[in-house]
Amino acid sequence: MSEVILEMDNIIKKFENQEVIKNISIKVNKGEFLTLLGPSGCGKTTTLRIIAGFENPTSGSVLLEGIHVENKQPNERNVNTVFQNYALFPHMNVFENISYGLKIRKVNKLEIKKRVIEMLSLVQLEGYEKRKIEGLSGGQKQRVAIGRALINNPKILLLDEPLGALDLKLRKQMQIELKRLQKKLQITFVYVTHDQEEALNMSDRIAVMNEGIIEQIGSPQDIYERPKTKFVAGFIGESNLIKTNIKKIDEEKVSFEFGEYEMNVNYKNYDNLKNRETYILIRPENIKYTSSKPRYGLRSTIKEHSYIGSIIKTTVELESGQEIIVCDYDKKKKLIGIGSEVWVYFEPEDVVIVEEGD
C-alpha cells in the first residue's frame, strides 16, 4: 500500500454562486503521476489552484501529508506550480528565475549557485544562466519554468497545461522528458490537460473530470478500456456507443440486447448499474464488418471510407440510422463499395457497458 501524499475531501468551489467544483474527493499517492483530464470549464484548473493555494475551497478539506492546508497561503505549502504560460519573471535572467525560491528562503549563495547549476543540467539548459527570458524559445521557457519549480524540492509539482503552447513535435518530446524527470526524481506530479493522448501517454492514473465532478479515476488502461460513463468513453479515444437494454444481471454476467440477439459480458466491472437502459461501447478497432452474414451482427450500409495514414476508417450506418466507425489496420484488404449492405460484428469481450452519467 503506497503512501498518500495528498487528500482532497468533498471539495466544493463556488464563484459568485456558480458551482465550478461540485464535489471532488481524491487521494494522490506519493511519487505518482496523476492527470486531471477534461474539457475546458470542467474545473480541472480550479482543482489544481486549490491544491496550490491560489483558491480556497468553499467547503471541504485538503490534506498535504496529513496536515490541513486548505486555508494556508501558497507560500506556506510545499508545492510548486508550472504555470500555463510559464509566468517567468521577465525582469530576471534564467539564473535569477531558477534561484528565486532559494533566495526567498535565504539559502546561502554558494549553495544556490551549486543547485542552480545542477538544475540547469537536469533540465538540459547548461550555459543558459545569463540568458534573458525574452530571447528563449517556448521549449526553453518550459524548461526554466520546470527548473524554477523543482529546485524547491516540492512535495508535489503541479503542472497546468504546461505543454499547451508548444508545437506538436516539441510537445511529444517534452512528454517523454517530463515522464523521465518524474521517474528519476520520484516527485509526485499532478498534471492538468485537456489532451487525452498526453494523459494516456504520461500518467500513472487519470482522473477524468466533467462539469465539476470526477467521472472516473483509474490507470490509462482502465480509462480507455473500461470507461464507466458515456462521457469518459466519448472523451477518451474514438468510440461507438450503441443504445441497449440490460436484460439480466447476475453473479457472473450481464445480458444485454443487441439487435435481435442477447449478448453477455463479464459481470465484475458493472457493480452498480443504475439504469436498465444504457449504452454499450465498442472501440472502432474492435469492430468489424463483413458482407456475408456472421453468427451475430447488425445489418448496415457502408457510407464512407477514409484513408488516415496508418488506418482506414470506415463509416457504416445501422438500420436505426446511427453511424458507426470501424478502423481497419489491414490496408491491403479489398474495400467493400460504398452503399453495399454489410453486417457489423464484434467479440463480446470487447464490449464495455457504460452509463449515461449524471
Binding site: 504555470f83 528565486y100 526567498i104 524554477r148 519549480a149
Partner: protein
C-alpha cells in the same frame, strides 16, 4: 488611387499639427534661446548684443537657492505623490467593484480649473479659514495657526495638484501587470512583502518612472501655487521666471532661466529613457 486619397487625408490631419508645433512651439522656443543670449536695455527692452551674462548671473547664491528650493519642493512633491499614489492605485485595482468610481474621483478635479482649486485650499488653510475655525471650536488650538504662506502650504498645494498625474500612469502599469507573476512568486515561497518588493515593484517600474517624471517636471516650473499659497515667503524657479517677464521686464534673463529649466527636464527624461531602455514605447502610458 485610393492610396493617393489616403495621403491627402493623412496630410490634412497631420498638417495642422505640424503647423501648430512649428509656430507655437519650435519658433517661440528658438526665440527664447535667441534672446537668452541678448541684453536688457535700461527701459526693459531687448538689446540685440550677444552676451552670456544671463547665464553667468545664475551662479549667484540667491538664484542657486531658488533652483535648489525648486528641486527640493519638486522632489518632495514627487516622493509624497508616489508614496500616496502607489498604494492608492494598487488598492483601487484590487477592489474591482469600485475601480471606476475611484478613478472618476481622481479625474473629477480636472473638470475644474486648478487655479480655482488652489483658491479652495486658501479658503481652508488661511488664518480665518475653515480648518482654523474647526480647530478653535473643538479647542485643539487657542490661537489660529499660520498655515498659509509657507513651504508647507506650497507642498500641500503641489501634492494635491500633482496627485492625479502620479496615479494615472501607476494605475495603468499596475493594472496591466499579469497577475500570474504574483502567483508565481507566492508559489515559490515569497511572502506578500517579498512578492511586492521583488516582483510587483520591478514590473511596474515603467509606471513609477512615468509618474515621477510627469509630477517632477511640472512641479519644478509650477508658479501659481507657490505664488498663491507661498506668498512672498516662497520663491521657486517658476516664480522667478514669471517675475522676469512680467515685473522686472528682464526678458533675456527670464529666457535664460527657462532654458536652464528645460535642460534640467531633458536630463531627467534622458535618465528615464536609460532606466526603461527600449521599453519606452511599450505600455508606459
Amino acid at each position: 488611387m485610393k492610396n493617393k486619397n489616403n495621403n491627402i487625408l493623412k496630410n490634412l490631419t497631420i498638417g495642422p499639427i505640424y503647423f501648430w508645433i512649428l509656430f507655437f512651439v519650435a519658433i517661440p522656443l528658438l526665440y527664447i534661446v535667441f534672446i537668452s543670449f541678448m541684453q536688457r536695455g535700461d527701459d526693459g527692452s531687448i538689446v540685440y548684443i550677444p552676451t552670456i551674462s544671463n547665464y553667468t548671473r545664475m551662479a549667484n547664491s540667491l538664484y542657486v537657492k531658488v533652483f535648489w528650493d525648486s528641486i527640493v519642493v519638486a522632489t518632495i512633491t514627487t516622493l509624497f505623490t508616489l508614496g500616496f499614489g502607489y498604494p492608492f492605485a494598487y488598492f483601487a485595482i484590487k477592489i474591482k467593484k469600485y475601480k471606476f468610481i475611484i478613478m472618476m474621483l481622481i479625474m473629477a478635479p480636472f473638470l475644474t480649473n486648478s487655479l480655482i482649486r488652489t483658491y479652495g485650499w486658501i479658503v481652508i488653510l488661511s488664518t480665518e479659514g475653515m480648518l482654523n475655525h474647526v480647530l478653535l471650536r473643538i479647542g485643539i488650538v487657542k490661537e489660529p495657526l499660520k498655515m498659509l504662506y509657507s513651504y508647507g502650504a506650497v507642498m500641500i498645494g503641489m501634492i494635491y495638484t500633482m496627485f492625479p498625474f502620479m496615479v494615472l500612469p501607476l494605475y495603468n502599469s499596475i493594472d496591466k501587470m499579469d497577475k500570474a507573476y504574483i502567483e508565481a512568486a507566492k508559489d515559490l515561497g515569497a511572502s506578500r512583502w517579498n512578492t511586492f518588493r521583488t516582483v510587483t515593484i520591478p514590473l511596474t517600474m515603467p509606471g513609477i518612472v512615468a509618474g515621477c517624471i510627469l509630477v517632477f517636471i511640472p512641479s519644478v516650473g509650477l508658479f501659481f501655487i507657490s505664488d498663491l499659497m507661498g506668498g512672498s515667503n516662497v520663491m521657486l524657479i517658476g516664480n522667478l521666471i514669471k517675475n522676469q517677464f512680467l515685473e522686472a521686464n528682464d526678458w533675456p534673463f527670464g529666457a535664460a532661466l527657462s532654458i536652464v529649466m528645460i535642460l534640467l527636464s531633458l536630463i531627467l527624461i534622458l535618465v528615464y529613457v536609460k532606466i526603461i531602455g527600449k521599453k519606452l514605447d511599450t505600455e508606459v502610458f
